[in-house]
Symmetry: C2
Subunit: 403 residues, 2 copies
């Protein structure tokens, strides 16, 4: 991090804060927001407001006066309900002591970093990836080490394990493993996950595992389990304590704006996480946590509806955009983004702005996601079929003309 010029009239500003990374997605939203009729596919959220059965639980707890300070790691009912959900989905016993409730997956990631890395340490992240990983890593004073994945129009994205292993140095403390991945949809195989664990074991690294799109896996082989392969499926007992899972209510339960998620890791970290939450944000409103209990306990039909909608959205974009000349779009294996390459386009940022102006569709430029994403666009398909058909109709002529 280089020191930036000091703004006039202020005392010295911490160069790490001064250098906080801009968001390439936020730039586009700033450019296109408030355009009448724009179809916003630029962020990772659907068009479904949180269902009433969840909202009513919050309203009920509010009326009951659940408005006081609460426990830093989450109310016991919520930690238990999350642990039970994990046990249902992945097998094994419910372990509420491993669950720490956070302000969304973002705070979970930030706390995981604070535990695992000291300023100056290196955090290895395959790219293209969610830009907030970069932002949080650099804001913590650590440094991102970006390992580009490879793309083939025929077979999609692949992670080169050798290349990743070669990026590990003496300063590396963390591997970030995001599968199914935002924005690429790349979904790790069990072999990939075993190889990543082996690297972590060899170098005594933490793994921050982001499996938040785990329910959104389109490989028919995963349908019976109802989820993508997880690092839990392949870890050895001695691996367990080096994995910190970040999770969120945002995607599965249509609760993006609520800012509730969780960190899952060794129970012995509870004291540290408690302190970091106390001195960072001091917990989550009890009345919101009661609603989260209802979501995770009773929300499986909602999750299934979300998955079905994403499956249909994926089909619409993959067919609608994939057949356009000059667009390469192998259907993504997981998550809920189409990430087409526009090989003739050297500047996805400029193209995304043109799509706002000429198609009235908001997409995220691949440039926002780090090395390897420059010629790509990201479009969220967790939305109504009507919107997605209309988006394809509007995008097609501009993308065709842009060749």
């Amino acid at each position: 991090m280089t020191s930036m010029p000091k703004p006039p009239s202020l005392p010295p500003v911490n160069p790490t804060a001064e250098g906080v990374l801009p968001s390439g997605i936020g730039e586009l939203i700033g450019y296109g927001t408030d355009r009448p009729g724009l179809i916003p596919l630029w962020v990772g959220e659907g068009d479904r407001p949180t269902p009433d059965f969840i909202g009513e639980a919050a309203a009920r707890a509010l009326r009951d006066g659940q408005t006081f300070y609460t426990r830093m790691l989450g109310i016991p009912e919520l930690r238990e309900a999350i642990a039970a959900y994990i046990a249902r989905l992945y097998g094994g016993a419910a372990e509420p002591d491993r669950i720490f409730v956070t302000v969304g997956g973002m705070q979970a990631f930030d706390i995981a970093l604070k535990i695992a890395a000291v300023p100056g340490d290196e955090v290895v992240v395959p790219t293209p990836t969610w830009p907030n990983f970069f932002g949080a890593i650099e804001a913590s004073g650590a440094h991102r080490v970006m390992v580009p994945m490879s793309f083939s129009p025929a077979s999609g994205w692949a992670l080169d394990i050798e290349r990743l292993a070669a990026a590990v140095t003496a300063r590396t403390r963390v591997l970030v493993v995001n599968s199914p991945a935002n924005p690429t949809g790349w979904t790790a195989t069990h072999a990939d996950l075993r190889a990543l664990l082996a690297i972590a074991r060899r170098h005594d690294l933490w793994i921050i595992a982001d499996e938040i799109y785990g329910r959104f896996s389109f490989d028919p082989a995963h349908a019976a389990l109802g989820r993508a392969p997880s690092i839990r499926d392949v870890w050895e007992p001695e691996d367990r304590d080096r994995v910190l899972f970040v999770q969120t209510f945002s995607k599965n339960w249509a609760m993006t704006g609520w800012r509730i998620g969780w960190l899952e890791g060794p129970a012995q970290l509870g004291r540290i996480v408690d302190g970091l939450i106390l001195y960072g944000t001091s917990g989550i409103a009890t009345f919101l946590q009661h609603a989260a209990v209802v979501a995770v306990r009773d929300g499986e039909p909602l999750v299934q509806a979300q998955i079905a909608q994403a499956r249909e959205g994926r089909r619409i974009l993959a067919e609608g955009l994939g057949r356009l000349p000059g667009v390469e779009l192998p259907p993504p294996a997981g998550a809920f983004y189409a990430f087409p390459r526009i090989p003739g386009e050297p500047d996805a940022r400029h193209l995304a702005m043109r799509l706002v102006d000429e198609a009235n569709v908001g997409v995220a430029p691949g440039t926002a996601f780090g090395p390897g994403g420059q010629s790509f666009l990201r479009l969220c398909f967790a939305r109504s079929a009507g919107d997605l058909h209309e988006a394809v109709r509007r995008l097609a002529p501009v993308l065709a003309a842009g060749r």
Copy 2:
């Protein structure tokens, strides 16, 4: 920060996180929680749940589907409503661009620190003080420099400006100014505030100003203004950009559990604060922010009721405890805590535990608040008169016997 022993089986843990400070208040709560009938005066919150007119606004916004991702710095309506409140209370124009909505005052303080201090820097804090200042400073990698205030049974607490000035070194970047103060009730005069500004100007320091108890001032001279003296009353134009105010909805509007507050500072910091919020917590639920708009816009009668309750609570504790032999309790000038000294008591922590066991009253031990607090207890009086009378009745024999 010294490196702590590594917990067994984990990869290396960041020593700053490993050394996160325990909360001396939390320890007592852990000791006494779930005791039937215990009167909890240990934390800074009242016994009044958030009033319905605020809760209903949140429920309404929830039903309206205000559940999506939102702006990092707060919705414009809330930034405007807060700015209008500040203008009403302190004079001047409303400046919404200076208002950044945060997850309670705690995140506001954490972000202020991230802007102002680099790991290794020093932050000067008069003590006894709110222990979360210490926790956040050390968790950020900076170091607290504690400057004990002086106590007189006749006249209460005083800040020795020379002593504070002498604590400033070449590594000092921040002065924390909390007035009215938690736990002492100390309330800065305009002369104090001018002197603090002069020190900050001389050394080019940031001031983090915590005036969250500003409405709770019991000096009749402040009654006409409806607030304690503020650093705003005395700053010169060139001082303005070095002051970062942390604020909260918790106390004035009975919203402790909601976790909504704000940071107020130079508008040019907006880009940095936006990034730090994005990569830390990603904002506050829109439906909660709409309720906060209602609170700050329509909540003045509530604030007045809160102040009246605290005034009566102060009288009950000051009279009820102040007359006990072996208890020194000059009535606090501001905030809503009684902070009696028990001169015969070398270990307030032990005494606080005894008060749980023998009086079934929860108090915070002065040991939690840093140098100068060792023989004191903190009792929150923002509660119903009935509870406080009963607390006095229970505490009196134990405190008398303890001499």
